[in-house]
C-alpha cells in the first residue's frame, strides 16, 4: 500500500529548486547553519575511537529488525498493552489522522501540545486536527517558529533552518501573543519569549502528542530524545498521551538502544549526549499520563521493505547528518524536496514510500558525491539506492532512445571509433574560435553557466595507432 500525506512533491525538483535558488538570503542562512552543525558533528564523531564499529552495529541491528519486523511489532504490541498502553495500527496517513483525531475528541480537549515529531508531520496531523476544531501547538522552538509563520519545516532536525534570527524576531512580533517591539533578536531573548508563550500551554493542556525515536519490543517502551525539555513537559504533564510511531522505529531490546544513544546525538546535533532522554512504558499509576495510546503507522514502509536494495532506507534514525553535508541541500533547502523528508534521505525515502512514480524527480536530485553515505550513522548507501531508484523509475521515451543508441555505439569498437571520428570532424569547422559558449537544447543546460571545449584534432586512439 502506498504512503500518503506530506511526502509527495507537488513540483518536479528542478523547478522547485530554481525558485529556492533565487533566494540569496536563504542560501546564506543554510550555508551558515549547515556548516556549523557539520563541523560540530565532525568534532564529536572524531572523538569516538570505535565510530566505524558503532556504525556497523547500528546498521546490523536495524537490518535484523527489518528482517523480523512482524514478530518484533507483535512482541512490542503485547508488551505495551500489558503495561497499560492502547496500541492502534494505521495503514496510511488518513487512517492515522482519523485514529488520533477520534482519540482527542474522546477526551473533549480542544487543544493539544506536541513534541517535535516527523511521523506527525508526515501524516499531516496538525491539519487534520485543525479541520476537526482542535488546535495543536508545536512546542519545539523551531517547530513553533515554523507553525507561527504558517510555513512548513525545511529540515528534519532544524525545521526553521531557513530563517535567521532577525527573521524569527519578525515572526514572533507579528504572530506570538503578548510579544512587544522591545524583543531583540538575541537567541536568549527569542527563546525566553517562546518559553513564556509555551509555559501556559504546558500547564493547561490535557492531551500531549508525540512521536518516538525508538520503540523497544521486549518491554513496550517508547523513547524520545530531545534537547529543549519541551518534550519532557508534553510527555509528563497531560492526562492523555498519544504517540504516532513508524513501524521501523522498533528495536529488539534495551542493549541495542545503547548503540543508538551514542550514534544519534553525535550525528544530529553534534553533541556527545542529548540533554533529555524520556522513556515510558504504558501507564505508571499516579505518575504521568494515565492514558497512553500508541499509533503504529505503515504509510508506505512495508512497500519500501519489499525492495531488497531500497529497504536500507528504513534504517534511518532521522538524525539529518546527510542533509547537513549535502551540497545540493545546502543550495536549495528542504522545501525544494516537497516532502517532510528532504535532502539525500528524503530523495530515497519519499519516492519509495509513495510508490507509483510520485516524486520521480527526487532520485535525480543528487550528484552521487557520496558525502551522505560517509556521514550516515547507520551506513545507508544513499548513492546506491538513488541509482537503484533511477533504474526502477519512469523515464522519458526520448531520453531512453538517446541512451539506447549511445549504448549501441559503445558496445562495438568500430562503431565507437567511427563515432569519435564523427565528433571530431563535426566540430572541426568550429575549431580555433575558443570554447563553445552557447549550444541548442538540451546542451543549453550546460552552457547556461559553463563553456564547453572542442575535441582536439586527434583522439587518443588515433595517436596510439600512429605511434
Amino acid at each position: 500500500m502506498n504512503g500518503t500525506g506530506n511526502i509527495v512533491a507537488l513540483k518536479p525538483f528542478p523547478d522547485a529548486a530554481r525558485l529556492e535558488l533565487d533566494d540569496a538570503q536563504l542560501r546564506t542562512n543554510l550555508r551558515r547553519a549547515t556548516h556549523t552543525i557539520r563541523d560540530k558533528r565532525l568534532r564529536v564523531v572524531g572523538e569516538v575511537d570505535d565510530w566505524e564499529q558503532l556504525r556497523l552495529s547500528g546498521a546490523a541491528i536495524k537490518d535484523d529488525v527489518l528482517a523480523r519486523l512482524p514478530e518484533l511489532l507483535e512482541r512490542f504490541e503485547e508488551a505495551a498493552t500489558k503495561a497499560g498502553a492502547v496500541v492502534h495500527w494505521a495503514r496510511d496517513s488518513a487512517e492515522a489522522c482519523e485514529i488520533v483525531t477520534a482519540l482527542v475528541k474522546e477526551t473533549a480537549a480542544r487543544e493539544v501540545v506536541k513534541v517535535k515529531s516527523m511521523a506527525t508531520q508526515e501524516i499531516g496531523l496538525n491539519e487534520a486536527l485543525e479541520a476537526a476544531g482542535i488546535a495543536a501547538t508545536e512546542t519545539d522552538l523551531a517547530e513553533l517558529i515554523v507553525q507561527l509563520a504558517e510555513d512548513t519545516p525545511s529540515h528534519i532536525l532544524v525545521p526553521a533552518i531557513h530563517y535567521n534570527r532577525s527573521q524569527i524576531r519578525e515572526i514572533f512580533l507579528s504572530k506570538m501573543p503578548g510579544v512587544t517591539r522591545g524583543l531583540t533578536d538575541e537567541p536568549r531573548a527569542l527563546a525566553e519569549a517562546a518559553r513564556k508563550h509555551l509555559r501556559a500551554k504546558f500547564l493547561t493542556a490535557t492531551v500531549g502528542i508525540s512521536g518516538a525515536n525508538f520503540a523497544i519490543a521486549d518491554t513496550g517502551t517508547l523513547v524520545v530524545v530531545e534537547s529543549e525539555g519541551n518534550g519532557r513537559m508534553c510527555l509528563t504533564l497531560p492526562q492523555t498521551l498519544i504517540s504516532v510511531v513508524g513501524i521501523e522505529k522498533i528495536l529488539p531490546d534495551f542493549s541495542s538502544l545503547d548503540v543508538f544513544l551514542q550514534l544519534l546525538p553525535r550525528s544530529s546535533t553534534g553533541e556527545r549526549m542529548n540533554p533529555y532522554t524520556s522513556m515510558w512504558t504504558g501507564v505508571t499509576p499516579g505518575d504521568g499520563p494515565q492514558t497512553t495510546h500508541i499509533v503504529l503507522i505503515d504509510n508506505g514502509r512495508t512497500a519500501t521493505l519489499s525492495d531488497e536494495v531500497g529497504r536500507q532506507a528504513l534504517r534511518c534514525i532521522r538524525c539529518s547528518a546527510c542533509l547537513n553535508v549535502c551540497p545540493v541541500y545546502e543550495r536549495v533547502g528542504g522545501h525544494a524536496y516537497g516532502s517532510v523528508y528532504p535532502g539525500p534521505i528524503g530523495a530515497i525515502l519519499s519516492p519509495q514510500m509513495t510508490g507509483d512514480g510520485a516524486n520521480k524527480t527526487l532520485p535525480y536530485a543528487s550528484t552521487l558525491c557520496g558525502a551522505c553515505f560517509d556521514a550516515c550513522p547507520v551506513r545507508i548507501n544513499i548513492p546506491e539506492v538513488l541509482v537503484h531508484l533511477r533504474q526502477k523509475g519512469p523515464k522519458s521515451r526520448a531520453e531512453h532512445a538517446a541512451f539506447a543508441s549511445i549504448s549501441w555505439i559503445m558496445r562495438d569498437r568500430r562503431r565507437y571509433a567511427a563515432a569519435l571520428r564523427a565528433a571530431r570532424r563535426g566540430s572541426a569547422p568550429l575549431r580555433g574560435r575558443g570554447p563553445l559558449r552557447r549550444l541548442p537544447w538540451p546542451a543549453s543546460a550546460w552552457t547556461v553557466s559553463r563553456d564547453l571545449p572542442l575535441p582536439p584534432k586527434e583522439s587518443f586512439r588515433e595517436w596510439w595507432a600512429k605511434r
Binding site: 551540497p327 549504448s407 543546460a445
Partner: protein, 243 residues
C-alpha cells in the same frame, strides 16, 4: 607486469593529452603500457542514469578486453570507481560475469593507486614550476579513498607550489547528467567551487578526473578567470618549464 591503459571515452575524445601523459610517466619509470583497442566506455553514465540494461554490454566488454592484464590503469577516479564499486553489483545474477568482475576489478587502478600503492613511487621525476590547487574529486575521494595519494605525487614534483583549496572536499556540481537535469543547482555549486579556486590565486586547478575538470574549467572560462584546469597526470609527465 602487463599494464593496460584504460583511457576512458571522455579522455579518448576530449583529453587525449592525459592519456599520452600516463603512457609517458609509466614508460619513464621503465614500464611497458599496452592499449587494447577493443576498449570503449565503462558504462558509468548509463548505469548512474538508471539505464542498467544498456550499461551491461559495456560491463561485459570491459571484462573481456582487460581479462589478461596484471593491472589496468585509468586516469579517472570515477571510471575506476565504476569498475570497482558498481561492477560487482551489476554483475550479480550472472555467475560468469561475477567471476570475471571479481578477477579484474581489484586489479583496476586509478593512476595514483598504481604509482603509489603498486609501484611504490611518489617522485616520478617531474618538473612543473607553477602554482596549483588540488580538487579531490568525489568518486576518487569517497569511493576509491585515494586520500593523499595524488597529493603525495604532486608534492614530489620539482618547482610546484601547492595552494590549499577552501571547501576542497565539496562536489563541484557536475554529477554527469545532474549538470543538465538540475542545471540551476549544479551551477550554484560550480560558482562556489570556481570562487574557491580563484581565491587561491593558483595558475592551475588540478584533479584526477577530466570530467570534473571540464565542468570546473567550463565555469572558470565563462567567468574569464585565469586559472586553468589540468589533470595531474599531465603535471607528472612534465619535465620542463613548458606549461
Amino acid at each position: 607486469m602487463r599494464i593496460a591503459l584504460f583511457i576512458t571515452c571522455v579522455n579518448d575524445l576530449m583529453f587525449p593529452g592525459t592519456g599520452k601523459a600516463v603512457v609517458s610517466v609509466l614508460e619513464r619509470l621503465g614500464h611497458t603500457v599496452d592499449f587494447p583497442e577493443a576498449q570503449t566506455c565503462c558504462g558509468q553514465m548509463h548505469a548512474n542514469s538508471g539505464y542498467r540494461a544498456e550499461a551491461m554490454p559495456m560491463v561485459r566488454g570491459f571484462v573481456e578486453t582487460f581479462a589478461d592484464y596484471d593491472a589496468v590503469v585509468a586516469p579517472s577516479g570515477s571510471c575506476v570507481a565504476m569498475v570497482r564499486d558498481s561492477y560487482p553489483r551489476l554483475a550479480l545474477g550472472d555467475p560468469d560475469l561475477e567471476a570475471g568482475v571479481a578477477a579484474i576489478a581489484p586489479r583496476t587502478y586509478e593512476l595514483a593507486e598504481l604509482l603509489v600503492d603498486v609501484l611504490g613511487v611518489t617522485d616520478v621525476g617531474a618538473v612543473f614550476p607553477h602554482t596549483v590547487t588540488y580538487h579531490p574529486t568525489c568518486h576518487g575521494l569517497r569511493m576509491l579513498r585515494l586520500g593523499d595519494k595524488p597529493l603525495s605525487l604532486l608534492r614530489g614534483v620539482q618547482g610546484l607550489e601547492l595552494r590549499p583549496l577552501e571547501g576542497a572536499q565539496e562536489c563541484c556540481g557536475f554529477g554527469g547528467t545532474f549538470a543538465l537535469k538540475n542545471a540551476g543547482v549544479s551551477s550554484a555549486m560550480l560558482a562556489d567551487k570556481c570562487g574557491a579556486v580563484e581565491d587561491t590565486g593558483a595558475e592551475y586547478v588540478v584533479a584526477a578526473d577530466n570530467s570534473c575538470l571540464m565542468h570546473i574549467g567550463g565555469g572558470l572560462s565563462r567567468r574569464a578567470a585565469t586559472a586553468r584546469p589540468i589533470h595531474y597526470a599531465e603535471i607528472l609527465a612534465s619535465t620542463g618549464s613548458a606549461s
